[in-house]
């Protein structure tokens, strides 16, 4: 943020005072853009500190998009029935779809100059299966589906065999698994331990500097098979504090922040010519999950009533200030190709009360309903304490549920403790929680198998509703059927499953947050919204895609400006900031200056008198 109307003396005084305090060199104005290269400085809101796909990630799915700046996948994973070929030029399934023959591009080289071949693909799939482990990707080849074997047919063709039909191969795992160079990884004994080596991939950017937990530097890969990226260099810094991140963007220290722009800041960035805003969906959902093995919550009537008692619109308004869409009872993201055609959320507190009354949950003396066995409907919602939207939406939902006679307490808890709490002590047993809120991202909604993965009865291969314990035979049948169908044939089975879901309500989607990002136009303005990924993906930097969304996004942003102006006059009133600064530092520094002056005068005094 520049300030033009401040008296220069005051500002100079601050500079002087601070310089005195720190005895550092004069701070000067913002760092000048030093060269003509196009450099984009990005503030990451979370980062694991390495680009090793075998270490456990905590910042899903966004880590995935970061990896994909350096690595490539066979297909570009998208919430589409026909994913875009990427390293692959195409894939042909066997009749039962358990075996896929993938043809590859022949114009790809690794960052170190080695040519990319079918060997690398075969190696990668096998390697991920062999290593297994905690990484985000391994389960695609040993969980579901299970890789049976690979065969390299020629330099650009490889066949991948699975133990069961994989109709969705192109998306999962084809669109997900990063392809690794065999010549590098085949020598690595313990892949997850090697975290400091710079990754070698085929992607549009090559990593040249890796400082874990702090910053990374990626430079453009000039030989990228889709053409050199439009940006010469990406400087990624980890800025976890949101204020620091957006402040950095505002002050010109950053050009882009991966954190979505909170609505209350939108107006500020919108009104400033230096910034552009772009929207895009990450297929994110904020859900309230029920422990269906818990007494009372094991009753679908109770769960449905709770669902009906929650006003998703109110959550959207209160927690997201409109920058989200209300949840669907059918769970799947409305933009997903597999979403139930009608969807929608049924908010009907009166109906919920009637339902509960009829099911024998009569209001107790304190207004809280009591179950047939005398247990009151009192629940605790666990929420990730570091995620204000999760805490806030839980609080809003709790307020609403009080109106239908259900007492809900919100318990913010740190993520690891949350994970521990929702884990069943042993398979099949009920975990120790009532409900929890969680963000689920693109995978959960863009993946055609998502309902199977999340809500199928807990199965032998650790698939299904491990945490919620949800089990419904009809639902299971529907999602199992879908799993074996081609992508474009699944709609009916999936819709059926979604209808069952809506009735049984093992979870309630509180909102589908929209993504909106701010960037400095001067640094780079060709961002594209990539559904399911947001905008910080490689496609934003490739000529083929870049800039296509720009105008539309800008227009939409402008339209929003009027609505979002809830945060006062906007801009920044510098004088009040300075007042606080003076209050704070003035006291000390002033005293210090006086000290020096008086001291000098004092010593003079004693002699002269």
């Amino acid at each position: 943020m520049t300030d033009t109307h401040r008296p220069w003396r005051l500002r100079a005084l601050f500079a002087v005072v601070v310089t005195v305090l720190l005895s550092t060199v004069a701070p000067g104005a913002a760092t000048a853009q030093e060269d003509e290269e196009r450099i984009v400085r990005v503030g990451l809101h979370a980062f694991e500190g390495n680009f090793n796909p075998f270490t456990p990630p905590a910042a899903l799915p966004y880590t995935h998009d970061l990896y994909n700046l350096v690595y490539d996948t066979l297909f570009w994973s998208q919430a589409r029935v026909d994913p875009e070929p990427w390293l692959a030029t195409g894939a042909e399934p066997s009749d039962d779809k358990s075996s896929w023959t993938v043809s590859l591009r022949d114009d790809v080289t690794w960052h170190d100059g080695e040519p990319f071949t079918a060997e690398d693909v075969a190696f990668t799939f096998q390697y991920f299966k062999d290593i297994g482990g905690p990484g985000r990707y391994g389960h695609h080849v040993f969980g579901f589906p299970v890789l049976a074997g690979t065969e390299v047919i020629d330099d650009t063709t490889v066949r991948l065999d699975f133990e069961e039909p994989v109709p969705a191969f192109e998306l999962i795992p084809g669109g997900d698994l990063p392809i690794l160079p065999e010549h590098i990884w085949s020598d690595v004994a313990d892949p997850s331990a090697d975290t400091t080596t710079l990754p070698v991939g085929t992607g549009p950017f090559e990593m040249v500097e890796l400082e874990p937990d702090r910053s990374n530097r990626l430079v453009a890969n000039p030989d990228y098979f889709k053409g050199a990226p439009l940006v010469d260099e990406l400087r990624l810094s980890l800025v976890q504090d949101p204020s620091a991140a957006f402040g950095g963007l505002q002050s010109g220290e950053l050009d882009f922040v991966t954190r979505t722009l909170p609505p209350q800041l939108a107006q500020q960035f919108q009104s400033n010519d230096e910034f552009g805003l772009i929207e895009g969906t990450q297929f994110q959902s904020l859900s309230l999950m029920f422990n269906t093995k818990r007494p009372l919550l094991d009753d679908a009537v109770v769960r449905k009533a709770l669902s009906m008692g929650i006003d998703s619109d109110a959550v959207v308004a209160a927690v997201f200030q409109g920058a989200a869409r209300p949840g669907n009872d059918t769970w799947t993201h409305p933009d997903s190709p597999w979403a139930h055609p009608t969807g929608g959320h049924e908010f009907d507190p009166e109906g919920a009360k009637v339902m509960l009354d009829q099911a024998g949950y009569a209001p107790g003396p304190d207004g809280v309903r009591v179950g047939p066995d005398g247990t009151p409907l009192r629940f605790t919602v666990l929420a990730d304490s570091f995620s204000p939207p999760q805490v806030r939406s839980a609080q809003v939902a709790a307020e609403q549920l009080a109106d239908i006679g259900v007492n809900v307490t919100v318990e913010p808890i740190d993520p690891a403790a949350l994970s521990a709490r929702r884990r069943p002590p042993a398979p099949g047993q009920a975990p120790d929680y009532d409900m929890y809120t969680t963000f689920l991202e693109s995978h959960a909604h863009a993946d055609p198998d998502h309902l199977f993965f999340f809500f199928h009865s807990p199965g032998p291969r650790t698939i299904g509703a491990i945490f919620t314990g949800f089990s419904n035979p009809d639902f299971d049948a529907a999602v199992e059927r879908a799993l074996g169908q081609d992508l474009d044939e699944r709609q009916e089975s999936l819709s059926q499953a979604q209808e069952i879901f809506a009735e049984a309500a093992p979870a309630v989607v509180l909102a589908y947050p929209e993504g909106r990002w701010a960037y400095r136009t001067e640094a780079y303005d060709q961002w594209v919204a990539d559904p399911g990924h947001g905008v910080f993906t490689k496609r934003s930097f490739l000529e083929e895609y870049a800039g296509t969304d720009q105008e539309a996004a800008a227009e939409e942003g402008a339209a929003d400006a009027g609505v979002e102006g809830a945060t006062g006059e906007g801009g920044g009133d510098d004088s009040s900031g300075a007042v606080v600064g003076l209050l704070l530092l003035g006291a000390v520094l002033g005293a210090a200056v006086v000290f020096v002056l008086v001291r000098r005068r004092g010593s003079a005094n004693t002699i002269e008198e």
Partner: protein, 309 residues
């Protein structure tokens, strides 16, 4: 020595009190599920499947070799992570200790010398006021004023994202250090100030100060007599303040996204990164012990009565 041993044991025990182990962190809520075998494998990888006494033996064994284990969170050797963070922390906390000691002592002496005067009261109240504001709040305000509004300092981090070398690099590091350092200095200022002030006050009442005046020394000479002895408690306050500031640094580092031990500790707590947490605690305890030790070293230099007879 006993204290070090106790600290080591405590370090080992503390993280294990927590509900939820590293595996729970490794598999975040968003991710799918993990099979029993995968859990077992994970536990095995980090040696967490062994009995607690065996883990302790392994830990102690590693310690003797200077091996602090591997971070569960990102798989890097704990030692290198600590080494990297320690430097920034020492720069920040050490700088704050030195600065707050210097400024606090100077101000405290200044106020004591003018006991009861308006200047004394004003400095006392303003220092107490600043001390009363929590460190993170001061940090937020400094951030707000100097970075966001005035745009004088960068907002976060310890080193610039862009590549600069030589003197420019140092300048950049200094600029990024400035605000967290100022915050932490302000945080540590009051305790030193108050001690310095009251120490000098009580020294001024001592007979030798009177004697210094009686034998004809000018005010400067008299003041030097008193200040020399008043430094004693100031030194203790400064060194004790070290561990307080390390704690405060956790919050300040978070506000400024400064890559020090404090944020590392915080992240490690959240990720149940036992090896890292143990190491961070060990280092923090060692710093505190070292500070005490330094104090014990400095003390006899300041007070001949404590020198070995």
């Amino acid at each position: 020595m006993v204290v070090v041993a106790g600290a080591v044991l405590l370090n080992f025990a503390l993280p294990r009190l927590a509900p939820g182990g590293p595996v729970d962190y490794l598999v975040p809520p968003q991710a799918g599920s993990v099979s029993a075998e995968e859990r077992a494998e994970l536990l095995d990888r980090y040696g967490l499947d062994e009995s607690v006494p065996r883990q302790l033996v392994t830990y102690l064994g590693g310690l003797t070799r200077g091996d602090l284990g591997v971070s569960v969170r990102d798989g890097r050797p704990v030692r290198s992570v600590i080494a990297e963070r320690l430097g920034w922390s020492l720069l920040l906390v050490g700088g704050a200790v030195v600065l707050s000691a210097l400024v606090g002592t100077a101000l405290g002496f200044f106020a004591a010398w003018r006991r009861g005067s308006g200047v004394d009261l004003a400095s006392l109240v303003s220092v107490l006021f600043i001390d009363a504001l929590p460190a993170f709040f001061v940090g937020l305000l400094l951030l707000l004023v100097f970075s966001v509004r005035l745009d004088l300092f960068p907002l976060y981090g310890a080193v610039p994202a862009s590549e600069v070398g030589g003197a420019r690099f140092l300048v950049e590091v200094a600029r990024r250090l400035a605000l967290p350092l100022a915050t932490l200095t302000l945080t540590g200022l009051a305790s030193v100030f108050v001690v310095a002030r009251s120490a000098l006050l009580s020294e001024l009442d001592e007979d030798y100060v009177f004697m210094a005046r009686a034998k004809g020394l000018d005010e400067k000479g008299v003041r030097r007599h008193a200040q020399q002895n008043a430094l004693l408690p100031v030194s203790t306050a400064t060194f004790l303040g070290f561990s307080t500031l390390v704690g405060a640094a956790t919050v300040v580092e978070t506000v400024f996204s400064y890559p020090g031990l404090g944020t590392l500790a915080f992240q490690s707590v959240l990720s149940r990164d036992y090896p890292m947490l143990q190491a961070v605690f060990l280092v923090l305890a060692l710093i505190a012990i070292a500070a005490n030790f330094l104090n014990d070293l400095v003390y006899p230099r300041l007070d001949p009565r404590l020198r070995a007879q």
